[in-house]
């Protein structure tokens, strides 16, 4: 029999807030986490701003052993460890654990393992100093590094895997954990994603000319999803994690329940019908949203809020059109729509999990966070949906059901439906 799956723990490392209380305050007040990067100016990047968490690296000593901390350099692993362990303790669990926990697994995603770690490898090898690399490089250069650090710290003994689906990674990780519990294979799954957009990854995106370049002197205004003046996205870094739990298991241990995952879908447009390596096929996106709604057992009119992918590129208007087609709703009869990327930029693989944490906090605390920098909504968007659906200041209202979707390179889509727990 299929199980109900609830969210019992949250953790976040976001450019506009590290830890749930700071992050909640930031998204309620429209606080930007986009900052000027002097190095990017020096390197002649077109985009010289980024979403960077104000992360206390030394603080990781409170999360992992001194031996593990010594030699840890990969920032993405650091972010992921902190978000995951915060979620774990938020769910009422202990970190110290001498036994293997066979009932709990971990699905944590990322796009690229640490390229700065790889730079060290390349430099040493090219300098004929391979003997100086030591034992700690491989574990941080491998894509499953973050998952290995998290599951090792907590002794997780169920399925432990790392997923990667570009910008759909975070949403997909949550969906994979959800499905695993729903089918009865695990009682709990620690899920999420992490991303450290380092100089080299940033540079590769910069060269594609898809980044915002006109607001380098006004970093907080640089990320402008759905606006007429949107000129590309701002890469961001960070991580978020959720503890997903079999409802019966959560109730039996008296856990606090933030929300329920009703269902979701992950698919691809197959890079056909308008889809390509970099653009989603409308048919795939629409099908993904429709399937999420159907599998969740809800009707489109029950959706109160869409947490969009909405990166601040030309794709924003197509995304809104796809939501409208999938929901068969338009004009003022449309859910609220917001994009967390207006505050923190686009943290690639981490986007889906950070935005999901934001979605759950909006359900928990009854508000819709503002879209900042939306002074000039794109008329091609407001032709489809009403202005009132695009709040620029916080709206305090009951939020029962949120649809959260992300779309990634490779024409991959992931959509989740979160609900207040009843």
């Amino acid at each position: 029999m299929s199980k109900r799956v609830v969210v019992t723990g949250l953790g976040v490392v976001s450019p506009n807030g590290v830890g749930i209380p700071d992050f909640l305050n930031a998204i309620q007040n429209g606080v930007s986490g986009i900052r000027f990067m002097p190095l990017y100016e020096e390197l002649k990047f077109s985009c010289q701003v980024a979403g960077t968490p104000l992360f206390d690296w030394e603080g990781l000593r409170n999360y992992i052993s001194e031996v593990s901390f010594y030699g840890l350099k990969a920032r993405g692993i650091g972010y992921g460890l902190q978000a995951a362990l915060d979620a774990w303790t938020d769910a009422g669990n202990q970190i110290e654990n001498d036994e293997t926990d066979w009932d709990t697994g971990c699905i944590f995603g990322n796009s690229i393992a640490d390229t700065e770690a790889m730079k060290n490898v390349i430099t040493r090898v090219d300098n004929k100093e391979v003997k100086k690399l030591g034992s700690r490089v491989v574990e941080q250069a491998m894509n499953s590094g973050v998952t290995s650090y998290i599951s090792g710290r907590l002794g997780l003994g169920n399925k432990v895997a790392t997923n990667s689906a570009a910008c759909a990674t975070g949403t997909q990780a949550i969906l994979m954990g959800y499905e695993y519990i729903k089918h009865g294979y695990a009682k709990r799954m620690l899920v999420g994603s992490t991303e450290h957009v380092d100089t080299y990854v940033f540079g590769a995106f910069d060269s594609m000319r898809v980044l915002s370049r006109k607001f380098n002197d006004q970093p907080e205004r640089a990320s402008r999803p759905m606006s007429a003046s949107a000129g590309g996205f701002i890469p961001g870094s960070g991580s978020a994690a959720l503890v997903l739990e079999d409802l019966d298991y959560a109730l039996a241990r008296g856990a606090k329940i933030y929300a329920e995952v009703l269902g979701g879908s992950s698919n691809s447009g197959g890079q056909r019908g308008g889809g390509s390596m970099t653009a989603p096929a409308p048919a795939g996106v629409i099908r993904c949203i429709e399937e999420s709604i159907r599998l969740s057992g809800i009707k489109p009119e029950q959706i109160d809020l869409i947490s969009g992918h909405l990166t601040a590129t030309l794709a924003d208007k197509f995304e809104i059109q796809n939501w409208s087609t999938a929901l068969k709703r338009s004009g003022d009869d449309f859910p609220f729509v917001n994009s967390l990327k207006s505050m923190i930029g686009h943290s690639l693989s981490a986007a889906g999990s950070i935005e999901s944490v934001a979605a759950i906090l909006q359900i928990e605390h009854g508000f819709v966070h503002p879209n900042i920098n939306l002074e000039d909504p794109n008329p091609e968007i407001t032709n489809i949906i009403g202005n009132n659906c695009l709040p620029t200041t916080i709206v305090k209202t009951d939020v029962n059901i949120v649809a959260k979707a992300n779309f990634g390179f490779g024409d991959v889509n992931s959509c989740l439906i979160f609900s207040k727990f009843n």
């Binding site: 001194e66 031996v67 010594y70 030699g71 003997k131 030591g134 034992s135 700690r136």
Partner: protein, 86 residues
Amino acid sequence: MTRQEILDELKKVLTPYTADKEALAKVDENTDLIKDLKINSANLVDIIIDAESKYNIEIDYDSADRMTNVGSCIDVISEKMGQGQV
């Protein structure tokens, strides 16, 4: 350097690799790196790299294989420093 001086320095090299600070405080020549200090065997290579850098020596693979307890570490380090057995 005397064996005691090398041992004192070696303790500093070992510090980041063991969580067992009590065992480290009581270190003597018979202390086994893996059994007594509970050092992860994968980290032995890092200890060798750190020792090479600290003493400005090169430790070849065969010598490294001998470095299983504190006494043998001191043997290898003092040999490579050109002091032979002290």
